[in-house]
């Protein structure tokens, strides 16, 4: 039986017109549980959060109370660190995406080839995804990147170079490296299996037409990976927007605000001081911002996903 490749769109009429409405009604009870539960899950905390965002509510100081109007919002929006945090967030997401997707694609091509011990090598390459983010961050910070005790410093010194102070001089970059290391296996896995579904007949045909490895890559492999890359970007973005543990453990957002992203800023301004009103307002702002990013993202890669 001939196999179908993913890029050929299947015609949408899966049922004759007459029976369609019947089918649609029956889909409701199927979707309902997910939708209702998610709706409740979203709406209850959202309503509570919205409510708190308009109150003065400091957990540590019950004497503070009462309606705050938009005070919490203005306090946050006039915080000069807000823009830095947003910029850092976008910067972080962008670069981790670039590294994981770029490197992930190359590695996927590599691991698709036959070589000795490929299975084991693959296992090693996906291991980082299984390690807890806090532990990963601690390992990188103290055993590898530390300018005195760390391994990188040791290598640098053996070669005669001074050790780099990763977290002091390049805080955001260091965090990006750690996060990219953690997410690379995810991208690798998804892209690798997408490559493996590439029809070998197509590849043969292209090779017979005289295509070298570079043009094979750009004209055959890459387009085929379109959907897989979109899914990777989609899912990673959601998680990367709220990276927290790695920053908390390594730089605590610093020095200054150099590695503070939005999630961390919320933690600093609101949770640290148990200013529930402020934290709630910040949460609402974060949701609005994230939704903007998501809409933008989906619009631009939507066609790759839902065809």
């Amino acid at each position: 039986m001939a196999s179908t490749t993913t890029t050929v769109p299947v015609p949408g009429a899966s049922a004759p017109a007459g029976r369609r409405s019947q089918r649609n009604v029956r889909t409701l009870p199927l979707i309902a549980p997910s939708v209702i539960i998610l709706f409740l899950w979203m709406i209850v905390p959202l309503v509570m959060t919205l409510w708190f965002s308009f109150q003065y509510y400091n957990l540590l100081d019950p004497s503070v109370g009462g309606f705050a109007g938009f005070e919490n919002y203005t306090f946050l929006l006039t915080d000069p660190s807000l823009w830095t945090a947003m910029a850092n967030t976008l910067f972080l997401v962008f670069w981790v995406l670039v590294i994981t997707v770029g490197l992930g694609t190359l590695l996927a091509v590599l691991f698709d080839q036959e070589f000795y011990g490929r299975g084991i090598a693959r296992l090693l390459a996906i291991a980082p995804f299984f390690v807890m983010p806090t532990v990963s961050a601690l390992i990188w910070k103290n055993m590898l990147m530390h300018p005195v005790n760390g391994l990188f410093a040791f290598f640098a010194r053996s070669l005669g170079f001074p050790a780099i102070d990763f977290f002091g001089s390049f805080p955001l970059t260091s965090v990006i490296i750690i996060v990219a290391w953690q997410w690379l296996p995810f991208a690798l896995l998804i892209l690798l299996t997408a490559i493996q579904s590439l029809d070998s007949e197509q590849k043969e045909a292209a090779r017979m037409d005289g295509a070298g490895p570079i043009s094979m890559f750009f004209f055959i492999i890459l387009p085929h990976l379109g959907r897989a890359i979109s899914v990777v970007i989609m899912i990673e973005t959601i998680f990367l927007l709220s990276v927290f543990a790695e920053i908390y453990v390594t730089t605590s957002g610093g020095p200054g605000l150099a590695s503070t992203n939005l999630a961390f800023l919320i933690y600093l301004r609101a949770l640290r001081e148990y200013d529930v009103g402020g934290a709630s307002a910040a949460g609402v702002i974060a949701v609005i911002l994230a939704n903007i990013v998501a809409i933008f993202l989906v619009r631009s890669i939507a066609k790759n996903i839902a065809d």
Binding site: N58, L59, L60, D61, P62, V64, F75, D79, S81, K141, N142, H146, P147, V148, N149, P162, A163, D165, F166, F167, G168, S169, T250, T251, S252, G253, G254, P255, G256, L257, A258, L268, R269, L271, R272, E273, Y274, D275, G278
Partner: protein, 438 residues
């Protein structure tokens, strides 16, 4: 005869029954930090469990996580914990809210008079004790006797910061990875600010004036922070902004530092040849002063408190009494070695010849703790208590934000002037939002 036997038997039965009921015991949930002293307490606690028939459920967490978890629970009256380990920062704040049970009634055999007064004051509010001290510490100066002797320098009993800078200059040799001045640079109200706070005090500065106005752009602050940044850059290890207490301790223990001003509680480990390579080369002196000695050594105590929402207050009181008593100190001394006895809380510990023998730094530590007066932390009067912190709930956020700015200055991302400006503005904002003065 029959009646008497019956009475006797029923009496016996009743006693046995009650005894059984008492022996059932309760299960208490205790949350604690993962410090070595607490770990020892966890290890020795079965003795209390056996003696009282109660059981303990241990929740051991890293300090920041513990603080967040405990505060969330106690402030929402979640009722998850029966005993919490809290610091001298939380004790007065939570005591004020009546979130903790008062602990003035543990009995005469507890010997309240034996507890060092500064420690007791640090854990009280309005004269009532809200937490019992498990161990207390101040800060002092660790230095390498061998390096000092080699360079022909004699360390005074109360060095000034200027003198420290002088010695650091002579004792730094970066090519040999020997640094004269290893200090905390990692941002955080309990990290770099724990060192910077007392340093600013020593330079004559204060966090707030009597009207609660932040003072971060005053002369003493500028002098102190300029000193800090200059000396760490010239005489400190690289990557200082990532070094907190642990990292500096590792550096000192592996022989890279000539001087280190930090917690007295680290003395036991530096002195232990199993944990440090400089055990026999280290000496101690008071924390540096400058224009004043007020607030030059910090004060911190880890203590045990009982949330008001606990339903097992009596059993909890029994445990906290046991874990902070004179007998417990002796127990640790015998089981874990006298050098590991919980320091800084009771005079009797320091009068004990065994402890004095095992811990030659004991006298310096004792003096530091006794002199750490929370109520007079600065040269000029202030409306708050606390030496390296200000005992208001907003301080966690403020301290960390200021610590971040100073770390940025240290890393060279901004000048000291700018850092202090930004810190001042951010603190003003927070204080206004919180409604000060009040």
């Amino acid at each position: 005869m029959q009646l008497r036997q019956l009475t006797l038997w029923s009496a016996a039965g009743w006693i046995a029954g009650t005894g059984l009921a008492l022996a059932q015991g309760q299960t208490l949930t205790i949350a604690t930090v993962n410090n070595a002293d607490m770990i020892i307490m966890q290890r020795l606690s079965p003795k209390w469990e056996q003696a009282t028939g109660n059981k303990l459920n241990w929740v051991v967490l890293e300090e920041n996580v513990l603080r967040q978890r405990a505060t969330t629970d106690i402030a929402t009256k979640g009722g998850q914990f029966d005993i919490i380990t809290i610091g001298s920062y939380e004790a007065p704040i939570w005591g004020k809210q009546n979130w903790l049970v008062t602990l003035d009634d543990l009995g005469a055999d507890y010997d309240y008079a034996d507890i060092i007064p500064s420690v007791k004051n640090g854990l009280s509010y309005n004269g009532k004790l809200y937490a019992v001290p498990f161990y207390a510490e101040s800060s002092f100066t660790f230095y390498r006797k061998d390096l000092f002797d080699q360079a022909g320098i004699k360390m005074p009993a109360k060095p000034t910061y200027d003198q420290i800078a002088e010695y650091a200059a002579k004792l730094t040799d970066k090519s040999k990875e020997q640094y004269g001045f290893c200090q905390r640079g990692k941002p955080g109200w309990g990290e770099n600010m724990a060192f910077i706070g007392p340093m600013v005090n020593a330079f004559g500065g204060r966090w707030f004036n009597e009207k609660w106005e932040p003072q971060l752009t005053t002369e003493p602050w500028k002098n102190a922070i300029n000193y800090y940044v200059k000396n760490i850059r010239e005489y400190g290890p690289p990557g200082a902004t990532a070094n907190g207490h642990n990292e500096n301790r590792a550096l000192f223990a592996t022989g890279h530092c000539a001087m280190w001003v930090d917690a007295t509680s680290a003395a036991g480990y530096i002195y232990n040849p199993k944990e440090s390579q400089v055990a026999d080369k280290t000496a101690f002196t008071a924390a540096p002063v400058q224009v004043t000695s007020n607030g030059s050594g910090w004060f911190w105590a880890w203590s045990l408190g009982i949330p008001a929402s606990s339903k097992k207050v009596d059993a909890a009181k029994s445990f906290v009494k046991w874990a902070t008593s004179k007998d417990y100190v002796t127990l640790v001394g015998n089981e874990a070695g006298w050098v590991a006895a919980p320091p800084g809380t009771r005079k009797s510990t320091y009068d004990n010849p065994e402890y004095q023998k095992a811990a030659p730094f004991a006298k310096v530590v004792y003096d530091a703790v006794v002199n750490a007066d929370l109520t007079k932390p600065t040269k000029d009067p202030v409306p708050y208590i606390g030496i390296q912190y200000v005992a208001i709930p907003e301080f966690q956020g403020i301290g960390t934000a200021v610590g971040q700015q100073i770390a940025a200055a240290l890393a060279g991302q901004t000048t000291v002037e700018q850092a202090l400006e930004t810190a001042q503005r951010s603190t003003e904002r927070t204080m206004k939002q919180a409604g000060y003065p009040k």
